[in-house]
């Protein structure tokens, strides 16, 4: 049966091709003009590539080592404080990357709390370590990315069929053997998914290498450095290389998520929680849990504390001597500092609205009408997820720096449009995933009922579809908004002075050594993000 080819599908596909695929093609075309031979012979390029690859792989291992055991503990055992801690453990996920990085700087950096404390105790004249290079990057990655393993494996464990484990036991398998031969194989999709997600995120990571990298090279920072040096052609080659790497990862992810890789048979009930009953066991679990919580919350607490330290009031003391709200007052009273706040808020809101609108349009075409081009539209919606922010920013900057209307190229760089556009493209996968899933859960009979009651297309959208999609819109929208609000990697390549967002202001405050204001911005970002996610979750219910 031939499916209808609707005008809407053609228009949407064309629009997505224009803002998602076309910029990448332009990058590859421009890269083709660079001197490939010189690029291949340049040792620093290979160092950066190798640095990106091995730190990403190491990030996967570290994140897995932290996240998987945590998932087992929280999904299988009950102990005092399990619920609160279980939520806290996911906290690093809501910290914008740059904010996390500066929190680590304040906490473990050369003049951070921990080294100062160690110096005060040991009386040493120099800090015990320098937070720099690959080790620092991996520390930040492990902290922020173990959450993927934690969440994926917890979800996988919750879906496990208890009777599969009992079947293994009744066939003579002991607990360790059951984990090895049944639990882990069944968790493979979750583990593979988390590993790929971590790898892709680490590959695209920019804030940590940018702040802590020092002489250590990875692709993302190399691209920005080359571009700032004016070597545009080489930067294009580097961007193309990273893009190819990321697209390879994307293909792997699509493959690993293909349906039916390991299908559950029949329905099952998850294993019951094992309650830790012995008083000593409970005390140990609670103690370990709260120590972990403190460790996880330290960066947040540090940020809060630094935000209360007035400019130039803290020099050599272990603990800051003066605390006040003066930084926050400066944030909201000085026009130059209020500007980035307002910029970030409106740009995040506008880009989220645009991404959601495109997602709803796509959902109506792909899920409802099953129009032709559905596969293309879905792939284009998901594609930006795989594209590192650095690549996306450079691709859009390249496409929209020339005026060639016939080729679909306009000058948007330097205008207020480019950043929200980039945010929106970057958020298409988040919005698309949530909204398409929402559409798939809708009963088509409801739309048909509305039709038979005489509702036109617009009326059905407003009165039936959108209200029913509200949870999906709220969830996807909140995530997209938070991502755009905290964005650093795209912003640093595309901002203008008039449209500078919070993250850029954080960085410049840091450069001016105005740590308090930088931290205050970070705290405001976290609070707004948490509030947005909270509202999203509440509306979603």
């Amino acid at each position: 049966m031939k499916r209808p080819l609707s005008l809407g599908a053609v228009l949407l596909a064309a629009l997505l091709l224009w803002v998602v695929a076309y910029p990448l093609l332009v990058v590859f075309a421009e890269a083709g003009r660079a001197d490939l031979g010189a690029f291949v012979r340049d040792r620093t390029e290979w160092q950066a590539l190798w640095g990106s690859l091995w730190t990403s792989a190491a990030s996967v291992v570290l994140a897995g080592l932290v996240g998987v055991p945590l998932a087992f503990v929280f999904e299988r055992y009950d102990f005092p404080g399990r619920r609160v801690l279980g939520a806290l453990v996911a906290l690093p996920a809501v910290m914008p990357p740059l904010v996390g990085v500066i929190a680590f700087l304040f906490l473990y950096g050369e003049s951070g709390f921990v080294p100062r404390f160690i110096q005060a105790v040991t009386g040493a004249a120099t800090p015990p370590w320098r937070l720099q290079g690959a080790a620092a990057i991996l520390l930040v990655h492990a902290y922020s990315m173990y959450v993927y393993f934690y969440l994926f494996v917890r979800a996988g464990l919750a879906r496990l069929d208890a009777s599969a484990l009992e079947a293994a036991a009744s066939l003579g398998a002991g607990p360790a053997e059951t984990v090895r031969r049944v639990t882990l194989p069944l968790l493979r999709p979750a583990l593979v998914g988390a590993a790929l997600l971590t790898f892709m995120t680490a590959l695209a990571s920019f804030s940590a290498p940018y702040v802590f990298g020092g002489g250590f090279r990875v692709m993302t920072t190399q691209i920005v450095a080359t571009r700032l040096n004016g070597d545009v052609a080489v930067a294009m080659l580097e961007t193309a290389t990273l893009t190819a790497l990321a697209l390879g990862g994307f293909a792997l992810v699509q493959w690993s998520e293909r349906p039916g890789s390991v299908a559950a048979i029949g329905k099952g009930t998850p294993p019951a929680l094992r309650v830790i009953t012995s008083p000593a066991g409970r005390a140990a679990a609670a103690l370990a849990g709260w120590l972990l919580a403190i460790l996880l919350l330290l960066p947040h607490a540090t940020l809060l504390l630094i935000s209360l330290v007035p400019l130039n009031s803290w020099t050599t003391e272990t603990i800051p001597p003066v605390l006040s709200l003066v930084n926050y007052r400066r944030l909201f009273t000085e026009a130059e500092r209020l500007r980035p706040l307002i910029n970030s808020l409106w740009m995040a809101a506008a880009s989220t609205a645009a991404a959601l609108a495109l997602a709803v349009w796509a959902g109506a075409l792909v899920v409802r009408r099953r129009a032709r081009l559905s596969r293309l539209i879905e792939t284009l919606l998901a594609l930006p997820w795989a594209v590192p922010g650095t690549v996306l920013a450079i691709a859009l900057a390249t496409l929209f720096s020339v005026r060639q209307p016939a080729l679909g190229r306009f000058i948007l760089v330097g205008t207020a449009v480019i950043l929200p556009l980039a945010y929106a493209v970057r958020n298409l996968p988040l919005a698309g995933r949530a909204v398409l899933a929402g559409f798939r859960q809708l009963d088509p009979a409801l739309d048909e009922a509305a039709q038979s009651l005489g509702a036109g297309r617009a009326a059905r959208l407003w009165r039936v579809t959108l209200p029913l999609l509200r949870p999906a819109l709220a969830a996807g929208g909140a995530l997209a908004f938070v991502t755009a609000l905290g964005d650093f990697v795209v912003s640093i390549l595309l901002y203008t002075f008039a449209t500078r967002p919070i993250s850029i202001e954080i960085l410049s405050s840091l450069r001016l050594n105005d740590l308090g204001v930088a931290a205050a911005f970070g705290v405001v970002l976290m609070i707004v993000s948490a509030a947005a996610l909270g509202v999203g979750a509440r509306v979603g219910r």
Binding site: A167, A168, S170, K267
Partner: protein, 323 residues
């Protein structure tokens, strides 16, 4: 009854808020098939899980031969279990599932797998992914998997409940043949009387965690110990004693033990429901009591006034309600 091989001695299991199994004792002979029959919440599944070792009893013992296995973990108990939803490992193929509990390697392992698959009539299915099998085939793979390590006792949790009705009867027959071929001591749980009677050598009727009665299907049907058993294993009319000429109380009579034609009881046929060439007639007695009568389908018509007599009283109770 031959000598007891699997013994449940005064088992009790309490969960927060309710007692699932209460002072339950049962003996199962070697090679015997015992059905645990009861409505939901009767404790039959808990009993099976106690046997398998997934639950630990609060009191009582489980013995196999002379060995006390009460405290043994499931992995060491050597009891095979077939789960209600089969619990096949989706990441393994048929051979991987069936061979899971085998301690054998190489050719011996493959031989045993082939042997067990032949036993459940699935020869050559080794390399099939389990998700590609039909419900009945999955059930047989689950059975083969539990039988492969040669367990001492086979446990089945609602073995046929997951199959559609047309498949059920055939699978039930195949299941019985497979079990009998192996000659293994079997305990299975069901809430369907027909299944229990058809598969079980003996049937234990449970109710609210307690054993109501255990016996062969004929014993349970013809000589139920309680009104609960009488109504759970078949249809029965509860008739006020006066109707049957007794002084009071209540008697239970099966529909087929009420004879249409001549008799002391008069009533009007209000409904007729066909059942395999015969029919159940609902007869309203003058006192308002409704009686169910099993008779050839043309024995009466709706609206007829009929007379009845009681051929056989199943159970009579005194004035108290024995429930």
């Amino acid at each position: 009854m031959s000598e007891a091989w699997l013994r449940l001695e005064r088992l009790a299991k309490r969960f927060p808020g309710h007692t699932a199994v209460d002072d339950l004792s049962l003996d199962v002979a070697q090679g015997e098939i015992l059905a645990l029959l009861g409505p939901s919440g009767s404790g039959k599944t808990t009993t099976l899980r106690l046997l398998a070792g997934f639950e630990t009893p609060d009191a009582g013992r489980i013995l196999v031969g002379d060995e006390d296995v009460t405290a043994q973990p499931p992995a060491r108990r050597r009891f095979g279990m077939v789960f209600q939803h089969y619990a096949l490992f989706p990441h393994l193929d048929v051979a991987g599932n069936v061979g899971f509990g085998l301690k054998l390697d190489g050719a011996a392992r493959a031989r045993r797998i082939a042997e067990v698959l032949a036993m459940v009539d699935l020869p050559g299915y080794e390399r099939r992914p389990v998700a590609a099998l039909s419900g009945g085939q999955q059930q047989r793979v689950a059975l083969a998997r539990s039988l492969a390590p040669e367990p001492r006792v086979l446990l089945l949790d609602e073995p046929l409940s997951n199959l559609d009705p047309t498949l059920r009867e055939r699978t039930r027959r195949e299941l019985r043949e497979a079990i009998q071929r192996v000659g293994i001591t079997t305990v299975f749980v069901t809430h369907e009387q027909e299944e229990a009677f058809d598969l079980g050598d003996r049937v234990a009727v449970l109710r609210e965690g307690r054993l109501e009665q255990v016996g062969t299907p004929d014993e349970l049907y013809d000589h139920p110990a309680t009104a609960f058993v009488a109504t759970f294993v078949g249809r029965a009319n509860a008739i006020p004693g006066e109707l049957a000429g007794a002084a009071g109380g209540r008697i239970l009579v099966r529909p087929e033990a009420l004879r249409l034609g001549e008799g002391p009881i008069a009533g009007v046929v209000t409904a007729r429901r066909f059942a395999h060439g015969f029919a159940y007639f609902t007869v309203r007695h003058d006192s308002g009591t409704l009686l169910e009568v099993y008779a050839p389908h043309d024995a009466a018509r709706v609206g007829d006034t009929v007379r009845l007599r009681i051929d056989e009283v199943l159970l009579s109770e005194d004035g108290r309600d024995g429930r």
